[in-house]
Symmetry: C2
Subunit: 750 residues, 2 copies
């Protein structure tokens, strides 16, 4: 382990003349702005403006304060550049902290002109210049491409992205010898390691490739190596098969939706926007922010517009359940999007959750505009559908929203591409967000991220055996198996399909999608509605999940809820003496079966979650079984969280699961208040369903009666539909219709 004391007035550097000169420059800088090289992230004018704005704008001040606190902590200890260590271990974390400190040191030097910051970054680079040439490929890479400082190149590329900014900020302050030493001993060999030795990853259309080209491109700009920049932009062969522009072409749908999902776009936003900002500043002729019809702006919007009302990203695919728009990557992208694509007040709503800007001109701008508002805005997004696939033809992601701010209800359905190695087998899966929480939820990934004793913080075996499986999601599992039989290549070769998405109505919004190629011989269509009826306290979900098959199948309809069962009309048999897993594979082996019931009737099941009750009321069908389960079976290392699930099971060929999910009432344990613990919706009846349409009737207290009609044929807003079931005819125009009826004075029809 190498340690040196950071530069400070108490520990003058050997080269005293340099120190005195620097002091002179410092005085000069305070007047004129600090000398600075290329300016891949911040230039002298911006630095001077930020200096003049200190103390005025909270978001900017918070950013400066975080940088200064980080550096105060760094100055309080010796610089430490340890030998490489294992993933998630002390040395690994030290090297990560080092790049953060160097970036902050560079930025603070630019802004304040205080030489101690520049000296800190220089001194740390000197340590790396000693260490790096001694290193070979990291021995603990396991499945990953090895870095040298880190176990995988990915971390090392992240290191270089940040350090490029630091190096850029202090470039002119360094001596020529220092620059030559750092470039020869660190930056050039590192760029070569990424772009030559790991050429495949560098050219790969994947977020790892984005980090690689960003790292190489940014350091190339600072070093003034335009030929290396070109490789970063166009791939090592300069043929456009790889490189930054190809990634912008292929990693996003035309709407900007990122095929791996919000958690990954969150991560990818950083290299995309850091490198884009560098390209914009160094080669404005590329027009990077306009590229592919302003795809970078769309990418940022597609990320933040998927967020729950509390700012947390929906944890679809392999994803943390707590990642949110306050992540540093989103802070970066939000400020740059605001600066480049126009002052959208909704982005200030994002900034409210972030409570911090970035340290350049765009950060100053958003901080200034935010401070000028009378009241901080909510982050209110419209209902929106994103197409998926680089061509926009591979299904999509639908989000229906009602209400505003923290009172918003949000219903999300996933019907796009598989999403690569991080994809889950979960087409037609939904999440329902209500009361500021995921009321019906996604498990997220099977991973305790960066928790070293949990397999080094990496993905756990249970990620594949549970989290990726169909039954771990809120979508029907057929014959106890997983979509595409759990085969990633098969899942990648197909996708869900959009059917219709209509979110204009104030009282009812609907989305519908299909997945016909995920279970052999089974066509699946799900139509979900978010419905507001003044007779109910909150918007409710109507769910019509239709399956069609030639043969009789086992259809399992799961609801992954949170909280405590409260009331139900099921005669549950619990297992007093023992518990067994619900199955042997496809994720079922991880579910303890805690109760089982049989019924032919409408199912009503109420649970309590936080301050609100939730009921699912589901149309009856002969021979229905219902299970309560809890994750944790066959989990020898306690890697899974213990969470409950309700599963409704039916044997059928053609079948429609028709359900209403109703939030209701209020509970406050501390104040000992409870109200309306039972749902207002009492009955859901399937009138009929076929390839043309589905008709469902819903009844509730006080004469509430809804007739729901949904189009199952080709989507159209204008087609008139007529279907007959049991001799009765139902007619409507367009993709769906709900008749809101009050039967308190008589029957619904006469």
């Amino acid at each position: 382990m190498i340690q040196t004391m950071p530069f400070s007035p108490d520990h003058p550097r050997p080269a005293m003349h340099r120190f005195l000169l620097a002091g002179f420059l410092l005085l000069f800088a305070a007047e004129q702005g600090v000398a600075q090289h290329a300016g891949i992230f911040i230039n002298k004018e911006e630095a001077a403006e930020i200096r003049g704005a200190l103390g005025k704008y909270a978001l900017l001040d918070n950013a400066v304060a975080l940088a200064e606190e980080t550096m105060e902590a760094a100055f309080s200890k010796p610089i430490e550049v340890p030998q490489p260590g294992e993933a998630g271990g002390y040395e690994h974390e030290r090297h990560k902290q080092n790049y953060r400190e160097m970036r902050y040191a560079g930025l603070l030097y630019s802004i304040t002109g205080e030489e101690k910051y520049a000296a800190f970054a220089r001194d740390m680079l000197e340590e790396y210049a000693v260490l790096y040439p001694t290193l070979g490929p990291h021995p603990l890479a396991r499945n990953q491409k090895p870095g040298k400082i880190f176990h995988q190149t990915l971390n090392e590329e992240v290191w270089l992205v940040h350090v490029s900014i630091a190096y850029d900020c202090i470039y002119e302050w360094l001596s020529e010898e220092e620059r030559a030493r750092f470039e020869a001993r660190i930056f050039r060999p590192m760029a070569e390691w990424f772009s030559v030795r790991n050429k495949e990853e560098f050219n790969r259309i994947h977020n790892h490739g984005t980090w690689a080209v960003a790292a190489v491109g940014m350091i190339a700009y600072v070093m003034g190596d335009q030929s290396l920049v070109e490789k970063a932009l166009h791939g090592t062969e300069l043929d456009g098969a790889g490189g930054f522009l190809a990634q912008l072409d292929l990693l996003f749908s035309p709407d900007g939706y990122y095929m791996e999902g919000p958690y990954y776009i969150r991560y990818a936003l950083m290299p995309f926007f850091y490198f884009a900002e560098a390209v914009h500043r160094m080669q404005p002729e590329v027009g990077i922010y306009d590229y592919r019809d302003r795809i970078l702006g769309k990418a940022h919007y597609s990320a933040v517009q998927t967020a729950f009302p509390n700012g947390v990203f929906p944890p679809i695919n392999d994803a943390s359940r707590t990642m949110d728009v306050a992540a540093p990557e989103v802070i970066l992208a939000n400020a740059l999007t605001y600066g480049q694509y126009g002052a959208d007040e909704s982005l200030l709503g994002v900034a409210r959750i972030q409570n911090r800007a970035i340290l350049n001109g765009a950060g100053l701008k958003i901080a200034h505009d935010y401070a000028a508002l009378d009241a901080p805005p909510d982050m209110n997004w419209p209902s929106i559908e994103f197409t998926d696939g680089h061509d926009g033809e591979q299904g999509g992601l639908g989000i229906l929203r009602m209400g505003t701010g923290q009172d918003e209800s949000m219903l999300l359905m996933k019907y796009g591409v598989h999403g690569g190695g991080h994809g889950h087998f979960d087409k037609l899966h939904f999440i329902f967000f209500d009361q500021g929480r995921e009321a019906i939820k996604d498990y997220g990934f099977g991973r305790w991220i960066n928790v070293e004793p949990k397999y080094g913080g990496r993905y756990l075996p249970e990620n594949e055996s549970w989290a990726m499986q169909t039954i771990a999601h809120n979508t029907v599992a057929v014959d106890g198996s997983t979509q595409n039989l759990g085969d990633e290549d098969a899942a990648e070769a197909t996708s869900g399909q959009r059917h219709f998405f209509e979110a204009e109505g104030a009282q009812a919004k609907a989305m519908s999608a299909r997945a016909d190629t995920h279970y052999e011989g089974v066509a699946m269509q799900r139509t979900m509605l978010l419905v507001r009826d003044e007779r109910l306290s909150y918007p409710v979900v109507i769910d019509l999940f239709r399956l069609a098959s030639d043969a009789s199948r086992q259809y399992d309809y799961p609801i992954h809820y949170s909280g405590q069962p409260i009331a139900y009309n099921l005669d549950f048999q619990t297992r007093a003496g023992m518990l067994h897993p619900l199955g042997e594979d496809s994720g079922y082996q991880h579910i303890w079966e805690t109760a089982r019931a049989a019924t032919d009737e409408t199912i009503r099941f109420t649970w309590l979650d936080g301050h609100r009750y939730y009921s699912i009321v589901s149309a009856g069908a002969p021979g229905t079984e219902a299970f309560l389960g809890r994750t944790g079976a066959n989990d020898p290392n306690f890697n899974l969280r213990s969470e409950p699930v309700l599963i409704v099971r039916r044997q059928a060929s053609d079948h429609l699961f028709a359900s209403v999910i109703e939030p209701h009432g209020y509970f406050n344990e501390a104040r000992e208040r409870s109200a309306q613990a039972r749902p207002r919706i009492k009955e859901v009846r399937v009138v009929g369903h076929d390839d043309r349409g589905s008709v469902v009737e819903i009844e509730g207290e006080g004469g509430l009666f809804w007739r729901v009609m949904a189009n199952n044929g080709p989507p159209s807003k204008t087609t008139e539909h007529t279907v007959s079931f049991d001799g009765k005819t139902y007619a409507w125009t367009g993709n769906f219709k709900i008749e809101f009826i009050d039967t308190s004075a008589g029957a619904p029809d006469e």
Copy 2:
């Protein structure tokens, strides 16, 4: 159901001359203060002062705003006085809301002089005057004493306490006929129902008795019936065997500790303080606030001083896990205590969490003083021991605290009386609060309070079969059974015993207690220390649980943690194919055994809870078994929460469980940070223990070495102790000593 429209200017009352007179009085009131009767809670001068202070003090304004919002909602709907209904049902909640509204109406009439408030209370009382005489005993009382409006007298007494204040506030505004009607048709028969028909409960030394005497005493003051007041103060026989003063004598220990625990004193504070305040105002010669050496003030302090740093009351005995000092009862008691017993800044710390005062002179005072502070204070309490039993000789409750504000660590041990029908068989049980949460916790009660589908919101069978049992707590269960074999009378007949409590040290605080009469033939002593060592990030717990028996027993040492197992040195065998309950009775039947291990070595078990890791490191002993379990077995109605437990099991006669519980590291999933997921403490060794003392050695990383010596004999701060184990002698003075040693340069002894 009876409904009338509330009085408003748009709906003039038939007696118009009265309306005009009231308008005249209103003008007068604005100048002079509103006419008012006795003033059992607020008088004219206080009302005028509050009127003058509106808009100045946040705590007071919040109280007024809550009252006004409640009344605005009340005015927006017809007055509704329904026929009685079932517990927790709509009618039950309506009658509760009615008394709240009447009290607020009375207080707002006093403060604002606006006649609409007085009219509202009057109109509602008119409805009750019609309904109440028609009612007999409530048919759904089940085990409780029936009320008439409510299923039990308790709720009806609460109703009368609140309505007495309302009646007092509008007394002079009412006509003589109205007063006569209300007293004849409601108040006198109700007081008789409580004090004659339910004489036993009225005279009972129990919080139900307190509500009864408060209700009767308060309405008696307003009606001017001094003989009824005397019964409320001294019991129906006026012999002091029952009544308010006897309750003050017997329900509290000399320290003010309430034998049922904090959750129940919280509930009882309201009748105690409402009635005391009425006595104080109407019969100052009683000197009620000075009674029994100012026991009322001590009672309030004993309640709030047990609270966790976040204001939540420890859920010992039958208790909610979320009840806190912001409960209305504590808001009342806090303001009156502040007013009566002196301006203690710590009470302003309580007020910070409450964020609201009460509507009388004491409320004005605390709101004024709070607003005068530069910064709102934390609620910082000292470490403290409360004696238990009315004589203070029946054990106690010990609380050790380190740190301040939300960063405080708190260790609580329970070693007092059983606590009546709400008592748990949990002597020597502990709770460890850290990181703003109960890290090692109490299950609380088995009850979904006021949740109608959950057995009417009442106590569930699982309260007795699980929550009360010894194994449901963090204390040793012997031979798989519960203390006193679960016999309440046997438990009531004994108590824990204090041993020593020393909280002066900054680096180590200790408490020690015994329970020798809870398992036949087994003497139990627990010594717990809260220890701060600068080499560790947070205070740690040292736990020495010593058991002595003539015969070999099974000792189960449980830790009820929260969160996810992370790392351990145990070779856990999990149950892949099935789960079984851990036992058949005494609470064990509710625990699924999820894993089992055998070891002779030191046990290390780490879990993750929130943003922090926790490890228990426990001295090894031959033939140890360790179990992981989860509640939920034999729970046919899903009444239990699913929570994990670690149990260390040993067969022995004399045995010392010696453990360290270390909080460490940091985890933030959203920011993907993890640090120090493994404990610094590595070894705990029992050097020896006997009736005179215990010696334990603890080792950790970086040369950390602690030698812990504890006195097991008669407590003394000055006695010199010398014990010898394995030929080595250990000497110390007083009840305990920790030697903090750094062995990084060599062995601990030379």
